[in-house]
């Protein structure tokens, strides 16, 4: 049972009567009038549990930063008119705007109520209960019920680094073009033969073909295609730390998406794995236009787990995913303690079989700490930040000595830097 401001106003009007004749009898009569009016109003209100509800989210999945709508269809199944308010509740991070809708519905009729959603966080955003407050004909009092209705909005990763994709694709095409002027190197593959034009590298002249044709013929080369790229996202406890205003994992997902988009344009096959002690998400075999939607869908619900990563298990997963040589990108962080006990023992064997790139999300706040010289307290913090930087650099040095490439950058910089590292490896034919 609920009361409205009208019930309070009625009590205020009755106060005048009590003030005019301040006796016990007046108080009893006034209380009786108030209670009777409210009870009758409640009795005449439509039952909120007779409403038939259906919730639909349009679209069902939206990229972080986009908007969606929650459409609630409400049919009044009671024999009385339903008037009052309905609230379409969502979790706070779903960003539901004005979710309270006034109701005035004759028996048997239905209404469609739209609530705007502007989610602020990746993942599945769940809907709460639908609360119906049904008022009586006097609108003094009414009934209220909160009814569970299914609803879910899937918020896909933002992929903020997609703005870097065109420039990297242009560099990829330059790589192609460079091959036509005969940059010949290890790992590039034979494409075709054509006639010599002035400017071509004389070292690429195919003498046997020249002898056959009686004309000078050169070989052309193009970058390798159909290489395997495996992106591994570390979802263990180190990925839960907050860098900037999002968890470290979100920056890693961004880098993985950019690399996958670039590699699939370059003709390589991309597999993505999210792992801590168990597989949290896996995308394999998707290519072309299907790759990015599949990745976004799979990575949307990946959350950091507060467990220590199982690196030997991860290596086993990579082995089961690819058998030939591949580029394995480990998106993690160079936390010295975690790396020493986890990643270091396995990176050597992994680097022997595959090209390993360790992408680490750095904390830009450490740079700010490092430069701070305002007071002696700040200098202690700066010294601690320098110490951490040295330790991370030392760990990166050890990883490089064991054969892995290391890219370390802040959350906004990591994705383009990983893409550049990939392009550099491709240009050098090291895939």
């Amino acid at each position: 049972m609920i009361l409205t401001w009208r019930a309070f106003a009625l009590a205020g009007v009755l106060t005048v009567a009590v003030l005019v004749a301040p006796t016990a009898a007046t108080v009893i009569v006034a209380t009786a009038v108030l209670v009777l009016a409210c009870v009758v109003d409640v009795a005449l209100a439509a039952s909120p549990r007779d409403a038939v509800l259906e919730r639909e989210v349009v679209p069902a999945a939206v990229r972080l930063g986009g908007t969606a709508r929650s459409v609630l269809t409400l049919r009044n199944g009671s024999p009385r008119a339903l008037r009052g308010v309905v609230r379409d509740a969502w979790v706070p991070s779903a960003g539901a705007g004005d979710n309270r809708h006034p109701l005035a519905l004759p028996p048997g009729e239905a209404v469609r109520l739209t609530t705007g959603l502007a989610p602020t966080r990746r993942g599945d955003r769940a809907a709460g209960a639908v609360t119906i407050r049904s008022l009586g004909p006097l609108r003094l009092a009414g009934r209220q019920a909160s009814l569970p209705v299914r609803g879910r909005l899937r918020v896909l990763p933002e992929f903020a680094s997609r703005k870097h994709l065109p420039s990297r694709l242009a560099r990829l095409r330059e790589l192609d073009g460079r091959a036509t002027v005969q940059v010949r190197g290890e790992g590039t593959e034979f494409d075709s033969l054509r006639e010599y034009v002035i400017g071509d590298d004389v070292r690429s002249i195919d003498w046997r073909a020249t002898a056959r044709r009686g004309d000078v013929v050169v070989r052309t080369w193009r970058p390798e295609r159909d290489r395997r790229v495996v992106v591994v996202l570390d979802t263990s406890r180190t990925s839960a730390a907050r860098v900037g205003d999002q968890p470290r994992l979100d920056a890693g997902i961004d880098a993985g998406l950019l690399l996958a988009a670039l590699a699939s344009h370059a003709g390589d096959r991309v597999d993505v794995l999210a792992y801590d002690r168990a597989v949290r998400a896996r995308v394999r075999g998707a290519s072309g236009t299907r790759l990015l939607p599949a990745l976004a869908e799979a990575l949307a619900t990946v959350e950091p787990e507060l467990v220590e990563a199982d690196w030997p298990g991860l290596v086993g997963q990579v082995r089961s995913l690819v058998s030939q040589r591949a580029l394995v990108v480990l998106v993690t962080t160079l936390d010295p303690a975690a790396v020493e006990t986890g990643l270091l023992p396995v990176v050597g064997p992994l680097a022997a079989r595959h090209q390993v790139l360790v992408a680490s999300v750095a904390d830009p706040e450490l740079d700010a700490l490092r430069a701070d010289r305002d007071s002696s307290a700040d200098v202690y913090d700066a010294a601690a930040a320098e110490r951490v930087g040295l330790e991370r650099a030392a760990v990166a040095g050890i990883l490089r000595r064991r054969g892995a490439d290391v890219v370390e950058a802040g959350p906004d910089e990591l994705a383009p830097r990983v893409a550049d590292a990939y392009l550099a490896l491709k240009a050098a034919g090291r895939l």
Binding site: I2, P92, R150, A240, A384
Partner: protein
Amino acid sequence: MTLTDPFPATDTPPHRPGGSGPVRGDGTTTRTRARRRWRAMRWVVGLVLLGAFVTLLLALLRPPSSDTPYAPDAAGPDGGRAVAQILGRHGVHVTYTRSAERAASLARAGTTLAVLPGDTYGDDLSDADLDLLAGTDADLALVGPSDASLAALAPELTWGWGGGYVTTSTASCADPDARAAGTITSAGGGFLPSGPAADRVVTTCFPPDAAEARTGSYAVVDGTRRVAVLDDAVILTNAHLAEAGNAALVLRMLGRHADLVWLVPEADRGADASDGTGASALLPPGSGAVAAWLLVVAVVAIVWRGRRLGPLVAEDLPVVVRASEATRGRGRLYRAGGSRGHAAAGLRAATAARLAARLGVPAGATPEALVDAVVRATGRPAPDVHGLLYGPPPPDDAALLTLARHLDDLESEVRP
């Protein structure tokens, strides 16, 4: 926006909260909801009922007792329940009151009116109260009277000069009550007869140590009525009743008649309370009704504002602690431990590593090689550079700050 009915009115979709499609209600009825509420609340209700029952039981089983000193129903060390119960067992009917008017109305001839000290010493009875008491016909027993009570009710007596510490004194008079008691303990000052006619009617007894002659802790004035006065009320308390002959004297003093009015004046009675009405007399008529109605209005307002439109929706939030917290904690540890050596070593090592990278000095090079390279790049004197990069730890925080700034300067000079 109102639509045409998408479902036939007769069709009632089943309740499927987990599935898709339309949902009707939440699968509960009035009865199941009432049962669920009762299940959730029954422990609370049970505990409240149990508490109420235990409170009631304690209230019924506990003998009536008060904390008022000298009251006949007070069982504490400073109460008077022992005397009252012994008197009651010997057939004396004790009427306890805290109001002087009531005591005066009860105190007819042939009763004993005992006046005991109130909570505040000295002015527990107003002048009007004392006039009322002085006008009664009952025999008086004043125990530990205040100056005002003594002057009004036993004008034949004044205070003596003894007392201040507890003395045991022996009966030194012919009064039968005093003879029966033999000895009493008292810390009071004793009484002296005063005025020309006093000697004939006043008997004093139990002189305190080293007091003036004819001083007595106990005095009897046999005038138109008998007034017995005792200088120290502690004598009749539960704690001290059994000492010496206290009990005999007090019981004989209070038990002369079959009816005893026991007055412990109310301590907090103001002068204006004598008109017999409380603060409610100052309010206009009907304020009780208005107050009751305002309570009803308050309940309406509480229900109106108190019920929210559905429950809050909970969600798991990501970690809110920043990754840099660990580094800041390390900085705080350096600071708390005063580890200027560690802090300076960290700053110097980081600067040295950056300078080495910029100048092309290999990572494993000796300090001298790095210093040489820096001296060539900056033109600074070699001992200066060596002191900056490999000098002793700074002695205090100011030196650490200076060192950090000098390292910054050195680095800025080696920009490639």
